[in-house]
C-alpha cells in the first residue's frame, strides 16, 4: 500500500509532466480479499492488489481524461499526453469551472487495523461456524466475507491535495432449506464490529421459520420492512437529489422543492461524518464534503452540487462531485434516514394484519416521476396476524411508488443499520412500518 508521501510524490510527478492549463490526478491503491461460500463449502477465495491512476486536464472549455495502472515515468507521461490529445480534439463545450485550490478537510478516521489484518484463515473460521451448523441440520448456507484496505488520493495543479486511508468489511449469509431461505448481512469499517456468528444465527433461524410457506394473494398490505428493504428506496431516490438532474428537468423533485413529497416523519440527510457511516471528507473535485439535510419532515430542502452545477445555479459546490467529466453532477453517497422511536417488535405488535419483509431482490425503477419501483421479496416473508408473526408466506413482487410508500410510514425504528444496496451504495437506515404497500404479483416459492 502506498504511503501518503509516496502517493503525493507520484501525483506531483504526474502534475509535473502536464503542460495543460489545469491538471487533476486521482490515485487509488486497494488491497481486497473475499471468501465466498455455498453448499457449506468455500467455493472462491480471492485476494487482489489494484492500483489505478488517472489524470484530467482542461484547456479552456475542453477536457481530457486518461488512466493507467503502470506507475513508471513513461506510462505516466503517455497517460498525460493522451488526456491532452483528447482535449485538443474537442470543440469547446460548456464552461468548465476552475479547479479548487488547497482546502482543509475534517479529520475522519476510516482505517481499522483489524480489518486490514484480516486473514483468509480468520474468514474461513467464520464460515466454518455456519457451514457446520447447516451440515448438522441438513440444510445449506451461502455467503461472502470480505475486507478491503485502500487509499483515495486527489491532487491538482492548483495545489489541492486530499488523502484518505480506509478499510471496509462485510459479511453476508443466506441459509437455504428445501423450500425456504433466511438472510442476514453486516458491514462496518471495523471487522471486529461485525458479529458474524449472530448474523449466521439470524439467517439460520429465519430459514427455519420460513419453511413450508403458503401462497397469499397480491394486493395492498401493511408491511414491516427490515432496514435492508428501506435501502432500495434511497438508492433510487439518490440521483434525484442531484442539482444537475434538477437543471436537466429529470429529477423526481422537479417542481416539488419546498413542497411536501414524503411523510412528516421522514427526514433524510447526507452526512459523511456520522460516526456510524463515515465516508470520504472530500469529493472528486477536492471540495470538502458538506453535511446536508435533503428532506426535512417530508419536504425537500437541499440538493447536492458539484462545481459545474453550482456555477449554473450561482451557488457553491456542496462537495458531492463524482469523477469529472460526468453527466450526473453531484451525488449523495452517505444517505441517512432519521431514526424514529419504535422497534421491529413494536411494529409487529401493532400490526393486525400485515407482512414482515426481510429484504428485496433485483429492485428496479419502473417509473421516474413517482419513483415507482418493482422488485421481489426474498429470504423470509412472513404474515403478521394480530400482533404476531403468524406464518411464512411465498414471495411476492411489489410495484410501488417510493413517494407514496414514504408518505405512508406509520412507525420508524430507533435502531439503524449500515446497509449496502443490491448493486452497491451505503446508507444508514431504520426499519419501517408502511401502510398500503402494493404487491402486484405472486410466486409459488
Amino acid at each position: 500500500m502506498l504511503t501518503k508521501q509516496q502517493a503525493k510524490k507520484i501525483c506531483d510527478k504526474v502534475l509535473g509532466f502536464s503542460k495543460a492549463a489545469q491538471t487533476e490526478v486521482i490515485l487509488t491503491d486497494t488491497d481486497s480479499a473475499l471468501t465466498r461460500f455455498a453448499k457449506n463449502t468455500i467455493i472462491q477465495n480471492v485476494s487482489t492488489k489494484g492500483i489505478d491512476l488517472s489524470a484530467r486536464v482542461t484547456a479552456g472549455k475542453c477536457v481530457g481524461r486518461a488512466s493507467t495502472n503502470c506507475l513508471d515515468d513513461a506510462s505516466l507521461k503517455a497517460m498525460v499526453q493522451q488526456a491532452i490529445a483528447q482535449a485538443k480534439a474537442e470543440r469547446p463545450g460548456a464552461e468548465i469551472p476552475p479547479m479548487v485550490g488547497p482546502r482543509k478537510y475534517q479529520k475522519v478516521d476510516n482505517f481499522r487495523e483489524a480489518t486490514a489484518a484480516l486473514t483468509p484463515e480468520a474468514r474461513a473460521d467464520a464460515v466454518a461456524y455456519i457451514a457446520g451448523k447447516c451440515r448438522a441440520a441438513n440444510v445449506e448456507c451461502a455467503g461472502a466475507h470480505s475486507s478491503s484496505t485502500g487509499i483515495m488520493v486527489l491532487a491538482n495543479s492548483k495545489g489541492m491535495f486530499a488523502y484518505d486511508l480506509g478499510t471496509n468489511a462485510e459479511f453476508s449469509v443466506t441459509v437455504l432449506t428445501a423450500d425456504s431461505a433466511g438472510w442476514a448481512e453486516g458491514a462496518n469499517r471495523d471487522c471486529t464490529k461485525i458479529d458474524t456468528q449472530r448474523l449466521c444465527d439470524v439467517a439460520f433461524d429465519k430459514a427455519m421459520k420460513s419453511r413450508n410457506p403458503q401462497p397469499i394473494a397480491a394486493g395492498e398490505y401493511t408491511v414491516v420492512l427490515e432496514p435492508a428493504g428501506v435501502t432500495d428506496f434511497l438508492m433510487y431516490m439518490a440521483r434525484g437529489f442531484s442539482a444537475q438532474a434538477m437543471q436537466d428537468g429529470t429529477s423526481f423533485l422537479t417542481g416539488r422543492m419546498g413542497k411536501k413529497v414524503l411523510g412528516e416523519n421522514i427526514t433524510i440527510t447526507d452526512d459523511a461524518y456520522n460516526p456510524e457511516i463515515t465516508g470520504l471528507p472530500f469529493d472528486f473535485e477536492g471540495t470538502p464534503r458538506q453535511s446536508l439535510v435533503l428532506v426535512e419532515k417530508g419536504v425537500p430542502k437541499n440538493l447536492v452540487y458539484d462545481l459545474k452545477s453550482a456555477k449554473k445555479d450561482k451557488t457553491k459546490s456542496t462537495g458531492h462531485a463524482l469523477p469529472q467529466p460526468n453527466t450526473i453532477g453531484g451525488y449523495p453517497t452517505n444517505l441517512i434516514v432519521d431514526a424514529g422511536n419504535s422497534s421491529l417488535e413494536e411494529m409487529i405488535k401493532t400490526t393486525k394484519k400485515g407482512l414482515l419483509v426481510t429484504h428485496f431482490h433485483y429492485t428496479n425503477l419502473a417509473e421516474r416521476r413517482e419513483v415507482v419501483l418493482t422488485g421481489m421479496t426474498r429470504d423470509g416473508l412472513f404474515m403478521i396476524e394480530n400482533g404476531e408473526v403468524a406464518r411464512p408466506v411465498t414471495n411476492m413482487r411489489f410495484t410501488e411508488s417510493t413517494l407514496r410508500a414514504l408518505s405512508n410510514v406509520e412507525l420508524i425504528s430507533r435502531d439503524r443499520i449500515f446497509a449496502q444496496a443490491f448493486f452497491g451504495g451505503g446508507f444508514l437506515v431504520p426499519a419501517m412500518k408502511i401502510n398500503k404497500f402494493n404487491f402486484s404479483s405472486e410466486t409459488k416459492f
Binding site: 468455500i42 480471492v46 487482489t48 428496479n364 410495484t399
Partner: protein
C-alpha cells in the same frame, strides 16, 4: 510471456498446488460521450495485470496483482496457494475439473477497422452532428451520445500445458434523447438503450449503425411520449421487438441455465434457478417453436471468444430445443454435475483481477418464418413494445417484470397510438409457452449486453442475444402499481 507464466505455475506446483493457471491481461479502453454538446465523459484507460488460480488441498485459491514482474508473480502464486489451503478448512469435497485436451493456440476477434486508429476528432464529429439533430427541438432537454472501444490481449497458461494467446476487440455506440415537460421526462434511444449497440467488431460497427439517419425519429418519438397515454393495464397479445426480447432471453433463459446458479453457488447474491437438474431433457420451457441456442462462436457476439478462461474452445449448443429444456451453461468445475463429460466453455472472468466463473454465453432465439408486417396484421388486439427500459426478475428467475421505452397499440392488425411507460409481467415457462410467432432472419439482430453483473466480488461480463420480433399471447401489461 511464457517465462512469466512459467514462474507462476512452477511456484504453485512447488508449494503444493495440484492445478494452477495464470492469466496475464493487457487492456486498452476508450470511452467518449457527449451530453448537450459538451463532453459528458471521456477516458483512455490502459490496464495490465495478472491473476493466478490454483487448486491446493482440493480447494480453490486466487490472487492477483497489477504489478507484472517475476518477483510479484512469484509472491502472488504463493499467496494463491496459501489462500487455497485456507479454503480447504471448509470443504465438502475436492474440486474436480472436467478433462480438457491440452492446447496451444492463438485467436483473435476478426475486424475491419481498428477503432483506436480512428481519430478522436472523427468520433466526436459524428457525435456532435447527432447532438445537433436531437436538440433541434427545445423540449429535448438531454441529448446524450457515446462510443466505447475495448481491446484485450490475454495470455492463459495452465499447469496442464495449455497456452492460449488471445486478442479480443469490441466496439459500441449509441445515443438517446430525453424530452421534458411539466415534470414528465421520456427517453428514446438508438440503436438500443443503455449506451447503444455493442459487438466484437472494429469501428465498422459504428458506421454500419447509420446513427445519424435515426436521430430525427428518436427526437420526435421522445417528444410524442410526453403526451402519449399510459400503456393500458390488462391482458393482451404482446409483440416484443428484438432489443427488448434480448433482455428477456438474458434474464429468463440465460441466467437460469448457468449451472453454478442451479446448484446454489450464487444463492447469497444473484439467486438460484428454477431450471433444476431433474428438468434437463424433459421440462417444457416454451412452445414448440422456441429454440434457444448458446453460441460462443457467433460472429460479432460479445461473448464470442476462441477459448474461455478454463482454456476450453468456444462451442454451440441448444439450451432449449423445440420448447424443451436441453442444456446448461457450464465450466470445467461444474460440468460433471449435469452429467457432461466436457465443459461448455462458459468460464470467464472480469479482467485479470477476478476469478473466472460460469457466465452467460451468447444466447439467441432462433428466427421463425414471419415478416413483421404480417405478424402485426395477424394480431387483432395487442401492443408492440420496443427498446428495454427497466428489468426485474426474482431469485429463481420465474416472476419477471420488464419495461420498454415505447409501445404501439395494435388494433385490428394495424399499429395505432403510442403508449408511454409500457410494462409487462409474467412467469418464465408460462411466458415462453405463450410464444406463437417469431419473425424471420431478416429481422434478426444480435444485441450486445455490455454490462451483465454477477458474483461476489461483483464482476461484469459481456455477451449478446439474437432475437427477431416475437409474439406472446395473453400477457399481463401496463403494471403501474
Amino acid at each position: 510471456m511464457r517465462q512469466l507464466t512459467a514462474t507462476a505455475l512452477e511456484t504453485a506446483k512447488v508449494l503444493g498446488a495440484t492445478y494452477a493457471d495464470i492469466r496475464i491481461i493487457e487492456t486498452r479502453q476508450q470511452d467518449i460521450s457527449i451530453k448537450n454538446g459538451s463532453i459528458g465523459g471521456i477516458g483512455d484507460n490502459y490496464d495490465m495485470g495478472f491473476g493466478v488460480r490454483v487448486i491446493a488441498a482440493g480447494a480453490w485459491g486466487f490472487a492477483s496483482s497489477a504489478i507484472v514482474t517475476k518477483a510479484e508473480i512469484d509472491r502472488v502464486a504463493a499467496q494463491a496457494v496459501s489462500i487455497a489451503k485456507a479454503s480447504a478448512r471448509v470443504k465438502a469435497a475436492d474440486v474436480r475439473l472436467a478433462p480438457e485436451p491440452v492446447c496451444t493456440d492463438r485467436w483473435q476477434t476478426p475486424y475491419v477497422i481498428d477503432p483506436f486508429t480512428v481519430s478522436i476528432e472523427d468520433k466526436l464529429a459524428l457525435l456532435y452532428r447527432i447532438d445537433k439533430i436531437l436538440r433541434k427541438d427545445k423540449r429535448i432537454r438531454v441529448a446524450s451520445g457515446g462510443m466505447s472501444f475495448k481491446g484485450e490481449h490475454q495470455w492463459l497458461a495452465t499447469s496442464e500445458g495449455t497456452f492460449i494467446d488471445q486478442k479480443l476487440l469490441r466496439s459500441g455506440a449509441g445515443y438517446s434523447a430525453t424530452a421534458v415537460k411539466d415534470g414528465e421526462a421520456q427517453i428514446r434511444s438508438y440503436p438500443a438503450s443503455f449506451r447503444g449497440q455493442y459487438a466484437t467488431m472494429g469501428y465498422e460497427l459504428v458506421t454500419s449503425l447509420k446513427l445519424e439517419d435515426h436521430a430525427d425519429r428518436v427526437r420526435e418519438e421522445a417528444i410524442a411520449l410526453l403526451t402519449a397515454p399510459q400503456c393500458p393495464s390488462g391482458k393482451t397479445d404482446l409483440i416484443l421487438e428484438g432489443h427488448q426480447l434480448a433482455l428477456q432471453i438474458h434474464e429468463s433463459v440465460g441466467h437460469p441455465s448457468e449451472l453454478d446458479r442451479v446448484i446454489g453457488m450464487e444463492a447469497n447474491y444473484a439467486g438460484t434457478s428454477f431450471a433444476t437438474l431433474e428438468k434437463l431433457g424433459k421440462f417444457r420451457y416454451g412452445s414448440d417453436i422456441v429454440n434457444l441456442v448458446a453460441d460462443g462462436t457467433a460472429p460479432t457476439g460479445l461473448g464470442t471468444i476462441g477459448y474461455d478462461d478454463d482454456g476450453v474452445r468456444a462451442q454451440r449448443w441448444h439450451i432449449v430445443k423445440n420448447g424443451i429444456f436441453s442444456g446448461y451453461q457450464t465450466n470445467r468445475e461444474v460440468a460433471h454435475v449435469c452429467g457432461d463429460e466436457r465443459s461448455r466453455g462458459c468460464c470467464r472472468a472480469d479482467g485479470w483481477s477476478n476469478i473466472p466463473m460460469v457466465r452467460n454465453n451468447n444466447l439467441s432465439l432462433m428466427p421463425g418464418d414471419w415478416k413483421l408486417d404480417d405478424l402485426i396484421a395477424d394480431t387483432k388486439k395487442g401492443v408492440y413494445m420496443l427498446t428495454n427500459k427497466s428489468w426485474s426478475i426474482d431469485q429463481m428467475r420465474l416472476n419477471f417484470q420488464f419495461g420498454a421505452e415505447i409501445a404501439h397499440e395494435i388494433k385490428n392488425g394495424k399499429l395505432g397510438r403510442v403508449f408511454r411507460n409500457p410494462t409487462y409481467q409474467g412467469i418464465t415457462p408460462e411466458f415462453w409457452g405463450s410464444c406463437d410467432a417469431i419473425c424471420n432472419e431478416d429481422h434478426w439482430i444480435l444485441w450486445g449486453v455490455p454490462s451483465c453483473g454477477k458474483g461476489q466480488p461483483g464482476q461484469t461480463a459481456e455477451m449478446s442475444h439474437g432475437a427477431a420480433p416475437t409474439r406472446f399471447r395473453n400477457v399481463t401489461v401496463g403494471i403501474v402499481k
